[in-house]
């Protein structure tokens, strides 16, 4: 991908990961099944079958058991009795990202955690969906001015549904998930519109003051995430 083909991307020199490539190049394969490839261009059955598959996807979502901060307590309440997310066919918390379809990001993401969260997200199989829970995943929330806080989950991974609140009530989370199911059933996926922080090899970073300084501590092929706080929204 280069910026000539996609003029609306302001700066993509540092964001060349496969996930993003696939989405930006229009080959978003979250809904691209093996079946679709196998059937080639006979459209009738595939349209119907895809629709069916989308409905299935939305109606049986495995959530990643992923707690970060305050919102995870409300998330637990959403899974537990009274609110019981299971009623909406979305309530099986899986501890391993490899078994999960949806990741709810429930809390503030800080510099030390962002690379780990990115790794967890990368480990989930496609198609995967992200629900950003709470103000911190939208903008950093009450901690936005913090020296260590990522200004929203979308700096790191693409987010399908944002649920505002600090923390959102369990009802709000259920509503957000219902909306996500609706979108999945309609075959929609979210565009990636902001420039995310990406994991890259240290050797690939453009040389500047901080890179020179850390050159002794970090190997060339170590994965790093570089934060440009000044450019954060």
């Amino acid at each position: 991908m280069s910026s000539e083909q996609k003029p609306f991307v302001t700066d993509d020199s540092q964001v060349l990961t496969e996930t993003r490539d696939a989405r930006m190049a229009g080959a978003d394969d979250r809904f691209n099944s093996k079946l679709r490839e196998a059937f080639g261009s006979s459209p009738f059955i595939l349209t119907k079958f895809d629709k069916f598959m989308n409905w299935v996807r939305g109606s049986s979502m495995f959530m990643l058991q992923f707690g970060i901060a305050c919102c995870s307590i409300e998330m637990m309440h959403t899974y537990a009795i009274k609110h019981d997310l299971d009623r909406f066919a979305a309530g099986v918390p899986r501890a391993s990202p490899r078994q999960a379809d949806v990741i709810i990001v429930p809390g503030t993401i800080v510099s030390k955690f962002a690379p780990r969260m990115k790794r967890v997200y990368d480990q989930m199989p496609e198609p995967k969906f992200v629900v950003g829970m709470g103000s911190c995943t939208i903008s950093g929330g009450p901690f936005q001015e913090g020296y260590n806080v990522i200004k929203g989950a979308e700096e790191v991974i693409p987010v399908d549904i944002h649920i505002p609140g600090c923390p959102p009530r369990p009802e709000a989370l259920i509503y957000g998930i219902a909306k996500l199911q609706e979108r999945i059933a309609n075959g929609e996926s979210s565009p990636v519109t902001v420039k995310p922080y990406e994991l890259e090899q240290f050797g690939d970073l453009p040389r500047d003051e901080i890179v020179d300084k850390l050159a002794e501590q970090i190997d060339e092929d170590d994965l790093v995430m570089r934060y440009n706080w000044a450019d954060s929204p």
Binding site: G107, P115, E145, N148, M225
Partner: protein, 555 residues
């Protein structure tokens, strides 16, 4: 009149003589004196820290290093060691250690109090003071590759930073290579269901046994101290304490800030407001202990269906009551300096009825928990005699709250340094001396009963309170500007232990330095002590019994 109102004056009076006494004890070690609102301050040379602390610990009995505060001034760096006693919480002393600006090196206190290990690492990380002789002076909250010290004066927040994601090395690989040794390195966390959040436990196991363990924290370090230093005393700080210990212990945390700031600005809280505070704070404690119970059972025998749901059911009721009172389920923002924001909801009878119903059902619910949890053979086999934490070790790590009380240390700030309305009420401090995971669980369950007793009495008092004396807030100036260089360290009994706050006023309407002493931060330090040499599942049980919350560990 509650005790809190009289305390500051009385303490300063006593503090003066106490300060002289302690200065005499230390003799030449003292190079200056300070007065903090809570305690006398003794200024010590940076290369004599250990001498002074050893003397204070062994000869004057200050066995509890509650907190280490570091700060950068225009002309110097300063570390303050807040010392107190497990037997007598009101006897406090602050050891002030200034160091020079161009070479901020200070002697470590780690040989005296083991808890200083992490506290000094944090001071190094955020402020930049180097501690000579420290066994392992690395960054603790920020990534190891971080540049600069964010709470220092010349820190530029806009400079880019780089965080790494690399494999951790097995620290014992070299020692154990060969035929007999066979160690394996396991990362537990930061994304792991048993770590209660984003804790990372670097574990080395030999077979099933843990041979080396280090909790790696900082995955939720969201700059709470910076946030508080940017806010004004009157209104802007209060929302943040809710988010330190976010397991619904919000009001307990708010009380920590309210108490500190009220003592700092000399504000008296009306008695009626104190009763509301006491009642609502204890409701929070129940909610918090419920989740500790539920997740502990979840950790120990993976029971997502029964006990976890039972605990959540009871928590839901508490949250409903608190929502009626404060308007929020978790982030209450209900306390104000000088009182609370509004009175009990109307109709009051209905509200009291709701609380009474909850309290009436609680004994049955607890009976159920005891049937399912504490008298369950599987749980007993997993918890009795595992994760042993002897009282001396707990003290040297500064453990407080249910963790200390589960090790037989009779220490509860609600009684020992009384605030609010606690000293007027009839309740007991729960102590168990088993020192193991089971004791810590029992302490929490019995504390729920004690909290219920307190709430019951508060409801009775509130119900009979004359209507024209329902004064919920003292008269507090719109802008608070405490005098420059007043310093105070105050603590309350949070759900997890001693939650302290140090504030230095700089003459403006915002704190010059705001330091949070988190109970979980100190409690978590005991994990290696409890787990090394034990089986790895017992480590998970110990971690659950510590009941940490990462928002408070990392702040």
């Amino acid at each position: 009149m509650s005790l809190e109102e009289q305390q500051p004056d009385a303490e300063i009076e006593a503090g003066k003589t106490r300060g002289d006494e302690l200065a005499e004890l230390l003799g030449d070690l003292v190079i200056g004196r300070e007065e903090h609102l809570n305690a006398p301050g003794l200024v010590i040379r940076p290369d004599q820290v250990q001498d002074a602390l050893f003397k204070l610990r062994d000869e004057a009995g200050f066995d509890h290093l509650s907190c280490v505060t570091a700060e950068e001034y225009e002309d110097r760096y300063e570390s303050i060691y807040h010392l107190t006693k497990y037997d007598d919480r009101t006897d406090e002393v602050s050891v002030v250690v200034p160091t020079s600006k161009d070479d901020p090196v200070s002697q470590t206190a780690e040989p005296v109090f083991r808890t200083a290990d992490w506290h000094e690492r944090e001071a190094y990380d955020l402020v930049g003071i180097k501690y000579e002789g420290h066994p392992d002076l690395r960054r603790i909250l920020l990534p190891e590759t971080w540049q600069g010290h964010p709470l220092g004066l010349d820190y530029d927040q806009d400079r880019p930073q780089i965080a790494t994601l690399r494999e951790h090395a097995n620290p014992l690989e070299q020692d154990h290579s060969g035929e007999e040794g066979n160690t394996m390195y396991i990362n537990i966390g930061p994304h792991h269901p048993a770590t209660h959040g984003v804790l990372h436990v670097e574990t080395v196991v030999d077979g099933e046994q843990v041979v080396d363990l280090e909790p790696d924290i900082g995955y939720l370090h969201r700059c709470e101290e910076q946030m508080c230093q940017q806010g004004t005393y009157r209104h802007q700080i209060m929302p943040y304490p809710d988010r330190w210990d976010y397991i619904s212990a919000g009001l307990l945390n708010e009380w920590a800030y309210a108490r500190t700031a009220e003592d700092l600005a000399d504000i008296e809280v009306p008695e009626y407001a104190q009763i509301i505070r006491t009642m609502s704070a204890e409701l929070c404690r129940i909610a918090s202990h419920m989740i500790a119970l539920g997740t502990f059972a979840l950790d120990v025998y993976g029971d997502f269906t029964a006990i976890f749901m039972y605990a959540m059911r009871d928590r839901e009721i508490v949250q409903n009551i608190l929502e009626d009172l404060t308007g929020q389920r978790m982030m209450f923002n209900y306390f104000r300096l000088g009182g609370v924001v509004w009175d009990l909801p109307e109709p009051r009878e209905e509200f009291f009825e709701k609380i009474r119903d909850f309290l009436d059902d609680l004994p049955t619910a607890l009976e159920e928990y005891h049937d399912m949890i504490t008298s369950n053979e599987i749980l007993q086999a997993r918890t009795v005699g595992t994760g042993v934490l002897p009282p001396e070790v707990a003290k040297s790590y500064g453990a407080t709250g249910p963790v200390a009380r589960g090790s037989g240390i009779d220490y509860d700030l609600r009684r020992d340094d009384s605030y609010g309305y606690y000293d007027e009420l009839d309740w007991d401090v729960v102590v168990e001396d088993g020192c193991d995971n089971f004791s810590r669980l029992l302490v929490r369950m019995r504390e729920v009963e004690e909290s219920a007793k307190i709430i019951q009495q508060c409801v009775d008092l509130l119900e009979d309170w004359p209507e024209d004396e329902r004064n919920i807030q003292a008269n507090v100036p719109r802008t608070l500007k405490p005098e420059e260089d007043t310093e105070i360290y105050r603590a309350v009994e949070g759900a997890k232990g001693e939650l302290g706050i140090y504030i230095r006023a700089d003459g403006t309407d915002k704190p010059g330095r705001f330091k949070i002493r988190s109970p979980c931060f100190s409690n978590l330090q005991t994990l290696p002590e409890m787990s090394e040499g034990e089986y790895i599942p017992d480590m998970i049980a110990s971690l659950g019994s510590l009941d940490i919350v990462l928002g408070e560990v990392d702040r």
